[in-house]
Symmetry: C2
Subunit: 307 residues, 2 copies
């Protein structure tokens, strides 16, 4: 087994981004997809990503397309799986992988909607499977949410993702939506409610988030934010004094439904906000801005005002 050899299984946008991230950190990457054309296309994309993120003190690893699963897995220590979000397809793939791969290869699933028990029930070696959900796109966003039942698998995951300059975050038990998507869903439900109830427009909600709590949550989490909001007494003081009013506020939050009327209001709101600019252009601007934030947080001097 070669600790620097990685198999990417499933080469859509997520797989391609992973491949680029691994290669950019010097790993040798083999891309496999049920459709060989998809794997070959991903090689080009991943190579470009790798050359963007490779630093002066290391060389990018090679990214190639594997014609079959056996070739992708030869010598690999880690398989990052990003195929379609359906249990039977994933489990059929895992069975094949275990037959073909070295005995200490681990399979990490990028699944966003499935949980570890769903993925592993009835599988021969559940301890060799873990969930490792990136925040899209994986080569840009630091977060990787991990659940591993096996301690050694967890340690290997932590060390591997740290070597990719990612932030591995471990769940104590599996949960649908892991952490980040649960938080996103909870916030978005109220964002939809505010629009559905006529409190504010789509664009107003988005601007409030970006210039207020979103900006803060790029730096401190929600628990820490309330801790700092409690003054010297911290979260204990906050909860003692404002816990009851927070509970009243929770009771006042909405539970909207995505009715045709609500959907139409959201779509029109986004049209007003984007003024017809294409998704690709907006997404590219978003990613550039996120890159600048990450750079400013990493290298304080670069982002400081000159005054």
């Amino acid at each position: 087994m070669d600790e620097r050899a990685i198999a990417i299984l499933g080469c859509g946008l997520i797989g391609e981004s992973w491949a680029g991230l691994f290669a950019g950190h010097g790993y040798t990457v083999r891309c496999w997809d049920i459709d060989p054309l998809v794997a070959r296309r991903a090689v080009a994309g991943a190579t470009a990503i790798a050359s963007d993120i490779v630093s002066t003190d290391r060389k990018a690893g090679k990214v190639t397309a594997a014609d079959d699963l056996a070739e992708a897995l030869t010598g690999a220590s880690w398989a990052q799986e990003n195929i379609v979000e359906r249990v039977p397809e994933k489990q059929a793939l895992y069975d094949q992988v275990f037959r073909l791969a070295a005995s200490d290869l681990l399979i990490a699933s990028s699944t966003s909607s499935l949980t570890w028990p769903e993925l592993t029930s009835g599988v021969a070696s559940p301890e060799r499977i873990l969930t490792a959900h990136p925040f899209n796109p994986p080569h840009l966003m630091p977060l990787v949410e991990i659940y591993a039942a096996d301690r050694q698998a967890a340690e290997r995951a932590e060390s591997l993702f740290r070597s990719l300059d990612r932030e591995p975050v471990f769940l104590n038990r599996p949960a649908t939506g892991h952490i980040a998507n649960r938080l996103s869903s909870a916030l978005w439900r109220e964002a939809v409610n505010i629009v559905a109830e006529g409190i504010a427009d789509v664009e107003a909600v988005d601007r409030a988030l970006v210039n207020g709590p979103g900006l803060r949550w790029a730096v401190v989490g929600a628990h820490m934010a309330y801790h700092l909001g409690g003054g010297e007494g911290g979260i204990r003081h906050y909860l003692a004094h404002l816990g009851p009013s927070q509970e009243r506020r929770w009771a006042d939050l909405g539970t909207p439904s995505l009715t045709p009327e609500v959907i139409e209001t959201l779509v029109q709101g986004i049209e007003a906000e984007t003024e017809g600019r294409p998704v690709q252009e907006l997404a590219s601007e978003r990613d550039d801005a996120i890159r600048r934030i990450l750079e400013a947080l990493r290298h304080p001097k670069a982002g400081e005002p000159e005054a």
Copy 2:
């Protein structure tokens, strides 16, 4: 009336920060508080804030403490009110202000927990009162959430806060918690649930938020994020394909209570996360990081990687 003269009514941390922000943008600021000592202390703090944010092409305005309300309001065009969050005290102050001030002075309340109808019911000139809730601290965070029943008051608020380099966001109708605190509450409820249900620790939840959705929300709002997540078809495509699964996810979110056990788990989680570092030090680090982000977003070149 002097359009550059501002009265700050209530000089706790919020009032002091407002005073510094106005003075840093060249306004003449008079600070009044029910406790004259508090007003005098705020002058020192506000003067320091103003000198930090004043730019090379403008001079800071003068900040002084007013001995009485009449002096604070002399010639002022705008009163930013930040006194205790109780309706009777606020209304008693508004009545006094209207008796003493020029007829076109507006009162903007920084209230976070009260709404415009609550503040104005029974008040003589409701159209001269608006809510203008900053995100703490006002001299740093761009967001100001505004509700004004009167169009002219809204226009003056927009122009004033823009002149302070803030992002005014208007509500279409008053709502408890305005926008940002409703969104924060909604997210935090699930953040508490994740900890209470044993899915992940306090620190894991905070790290997931900061390295994933929080980082993204510093750049694009929640509605826009789902729009960009929908690919070329945008939010319409997203809602058509993933709306039902989003509704299932909403149904799976938690409704925790802040029981003594949950509070103890949160407090212990924060203690593990902060490792005993004092609140003031953590808050100051947070604010420095937010400053770097704002600078990086304003001046793209300053924050870009050199590679």
